[in-house]
């Protein structure tokens, strides 16, 4: 028996990374320069690389890594190469907590960048706050990240679901007045916050609200209900796979509503890939152009199809570092996020500390890939403040029909975004 007990000790010790005490909150002192050396800075993230949420999201970190490689090959930021550690949490909150604790306590990352998912990331915000670890550019449109008092370390990234829905609702009210609106929404904060935004603008027009469960790929009952409600417009607060499922299921029912899709589910490249095969077998009426043309979507990052200078840069990086990964909005998301973080590192200056990084975010000087400004300031930690609206034409190209708009998450108006926006050359991270 004693042998067994000693075995336990040995096994546990084998997994022990070192006996340092710093980094734990009880030590009382925040380590301002954890993960930073003269030649490198270590950052981490949690992503669903496997499991139910992996489809659609597993490529974000690929895009981010490509940008970091590009930056590092250009000499890094202030001479520091960015070491990006991706931990798989399988979209399981328990594992999120475990891997984030590992990143913070064992790997001692300087900052957490772009942690993905509301159910997952919401469980580590308090911990990161307590440990004093910057928690920036969270990959989720939930409202919780914007809480400078309660969670001073946390900053959002993408436009929140409420703001975006207000903009889409405004578009519906103006471009499709008097039409009955149905909503298909994921049964979590994506749907709840999105509906809150719609309700601020077009509450009276909504005739049916159908939730879907991401674990149940059969949305026939929901689309049937939407059709029965007489909805002429269907707003999709969905992830891409469910946008595609909704479009296909509507086609299956012979139901032809105007689809209006929030940015998380409106990735035309991904949708094209998902819907590609059906036209081949079932005829032109279910070809990709037939299914997607006319779809209205929202975006806040430059479109993959556009000749935006940022898109040009991202295409170059893509071609050089990850040519075998399809260049989707999801990949661009990861790239834009990484680029924004690199900018913040540059802004923080040569003597990098965690406080300086936070200050760089709150400076309001970060402008970049996104089509609308960040809300970042001392008072707000919300990410992008608005979105543009596009439609898909019969050649599956996107056309912007409403230039970038900004709004707040309350009852404020929807107004055009400022037109000024830095180009890659102005940001000049490399070279």
């Amino acid at each position: 028996m004693r042998i067994l007990a000693l075995g336990v000790v040995a096994v546990l010790l084998a997994g022990c990374g070192g006996a340092g005490e710093s980094g734990d909150s009880a030590a009382g002192v925040r380590n301002e320069t954890a993960g930073v050396t003269d030649t490198s800075v270590l950052i981490g993230t949690h992503q669903p690389l496997t499991g139910p949420a992996a489809p659609g999201y597993a490529t974000i970190s690929k895009g981010a890594q490509a940008v970091y490689s590009y930056v590092n090959d250009g000499g890094g930021i202030h001479g520091r190469k960015i070491d990006y550690r991706v931990e798989d949490d399988g979209y399981n909150p328990t594992r999120t907590v475990e891997v984030v604790k590992k990143l913070v306590l064992q790997d001692k990352v300087f900052a957490l960048v772009g942690g993905l998912g509301t159910p997952t990331h919401s469980k580590v915000v308090d911990f990161l706050t307590a440990e004093g670890v910057p928690d920036v550019l969270v990959s989720s449109g939930a409202l919780a990240w914007d809480d400078p008092q309660g969670s001073p370390m946390t900053f959002g990234f993408q436009v929140d679901y409420t703001r975006e829905a207000k903009i889409l609702g405004t578009h519906i009210a103006e471009a499709m007045p008097g039409r009955k609106v149905g909503v298909l929404h994921q049964n979590d904060d994506v749907g709840r916050d999105g509906m809150a935004g719609l309700d601020r603008v077009i509450k009276d027009a909504i005739v049916s609200r159908q939730p879907y469960d991401p674990a149940n790929a059969d949305v026939l009952p929901q689309l049937t209900a939407l059709r029965q409600s007489g909805a002429e417009v269907v707003v999709c607060e969905c992830v891409p796979a469910f946008t595609a499922l909704a479009i296909l299921t509507a086609a299956r029912l012979g139901y032809k509503p105007q689809f209006v899709v929030s940015s998380i589910g409106a990735d035309v490249t991904t949708l094209t890939g998902l819907l590609a095969d059906f036209g081949k077998r079932a005829g032109a009426e279910v070809s990709v152009p037939a299914l997607l043309s006319g779809m209205v979507g929202a975006g806040y990052l430059p479109d993959v199809d556009s000749d935006d200078p940022w898109t040009t840069l991202f295409k170059e990086i893509h071609a050089k570092y990850i040519p075998d990964v399809a260049l989707t909005d999801t990949v661009v998301f990861g790239m834009a996020q990484a680029y924004t973080f690199a900018q913040a590192l540059k802004e923080a200056g040569r003597d990098l500390t965690r406080s300086k990084l936070l200050a760089a975010f709150e400076s309001g000087k970060l402008e970049g890939p996104g089509m609308t400004p960040f809300a970042f300031s001392g008072e707000s930690h919300a990410g992008y403040t608005g979105a543009y609206v596009f439609t898909v034409d019969s050649e599956v190209r996107t056309n912007v029909v409403r230039e970038p708009m900004v709004t707040d998450r309350g009852d404020g108006p929807v107004t055009p975004a400022p037109s000024s926006r830095k180009t890659p050359a102005e940001v000049a991270l490399v070279g």
Binding site: P55, P211, Y212, A217, L220, P221, A251, F278, A282
Partner: protein
């Protein structure tokens, strides 16, 4: 008033797939008293192979054929390499864990080869309309295959051997039946039916975890119907499919899994061996 007909037809299509995968489980359970937890993964590999062939040739039927052949090979390999060594063990937990392990390995292999991204998988026919050709194809195929399997078991010498080997392996051996071979054939047959279920369940999107819920409902259908009763399982699959479609449409999609649990608890508390299952006589 909800569109009950559409809900029913949608449920029938889903139920056909549960029935087919459930039938695969029942065939193996009857032959070897093992619940094959690797069944969804075996079917998944076959569906991905069909996908690859589809992409390469643009045709549907060659892909289906490849999937069925792959199913046969995988079924035989699984039985010979993983299940047979456990037969003499007499431990009902061992095959559970081994098939679970295989499930993890095969799902991971699919992820490694085809990535976690969903891939569009075509329907066999036009999928539009309440009674779309694609839905009719799924339902008819499953009914025909189930009928063929029942005919094979009930009316052919091979079926007689299979049943004898499953019911009384010791006696079957004494009657000249090659019991080991019959068990392998049972697994092959089940894996082929499973592969078919996988290909039918794959549209519109295929990803490594897509068959997990299908498997849970297939197992539910088999348990409701009685694990050793193919007819009960097929009925169970269709009934469950329609019931869950109604629950999703009338009460909300979040209640679907709870409804499946409720049905299961109800059935098993009335009949611990399923609606049509045979109970083993109590030994005194």
């Amino acid at each position: 008033m909800p569109d009950l007909l559409t809900l029913a037809m949608g449920g029938l299509t889903n139920g056909a797939v549960y029935a087919a995968l459930g039938l695969a489980l029942v065939i193996i359970f009857r032959a070897t008293r093992v619940v094959n937890f690797a069944q969804p993964a075996l079917a998944l590999v076959c569906a991905y192979l069909a996908f690859t062939v589809n992409r390469a040739t643009g045709g549907y039927w060659l892909g289906l054929l490849v999937a069925l052949v792959a199913g046969a090979v995988l079924g035989a390999l699984t039985e010979r390499l993983l299940i047979r060594p456990l037969r003499s063990r007499g431990n009902e937990l061992a095959p559970v864990i081994v098939t679970l392990g295989l499930l993890l390995v095969l799902q991971a292999v699919c992820g490694m080869i085809w990535s976690a991204e969903p891939r569009s998988f075509p329907y066999a026919f036009d999928f539009r309309g309440a009674f779309s050709p694609a839905s009719v194809f799924v339902v008819v195929t499953v009914v025909v295959v189930a009928g063929a399997v029942l005919l094979l078991f009930g009316a052919t010498p091979l079926g007689l051997r299979l049943r004898a080997a499953a019911l009384r392996p010791d006696v079957a051996g004494l009657l000249g039946v090659r019991v080991g071979l019959m068990l392998t054939i049972g697994w092959v047959l089940a894996a082929v039916v499973g592969a078919l279920a996988g290909v039918l369940a794959a549209p519109p999107f295929l990803s490594p975890t897509v068959l997990d819920t299908v498997f849970v409902y297939a197992l539910t259908a088999a348990v409701i119907g009685g694990l050793d009763n193919p007819v009960g399982t097929i009925l169970g699959g269709f009934v469950l499919g329609v019931a869950l479609s109604f629950v999703s449409g009338l009460l909300g999609p979040e209640l679907v899994t709870l409804a499946a649990l409720a049905v299961l608890v109800l059935v098993l508390s009335l009949r611990p061996h399923g609606l049509f299952g045979s109970s083993v006589a109590r030994r005194v």
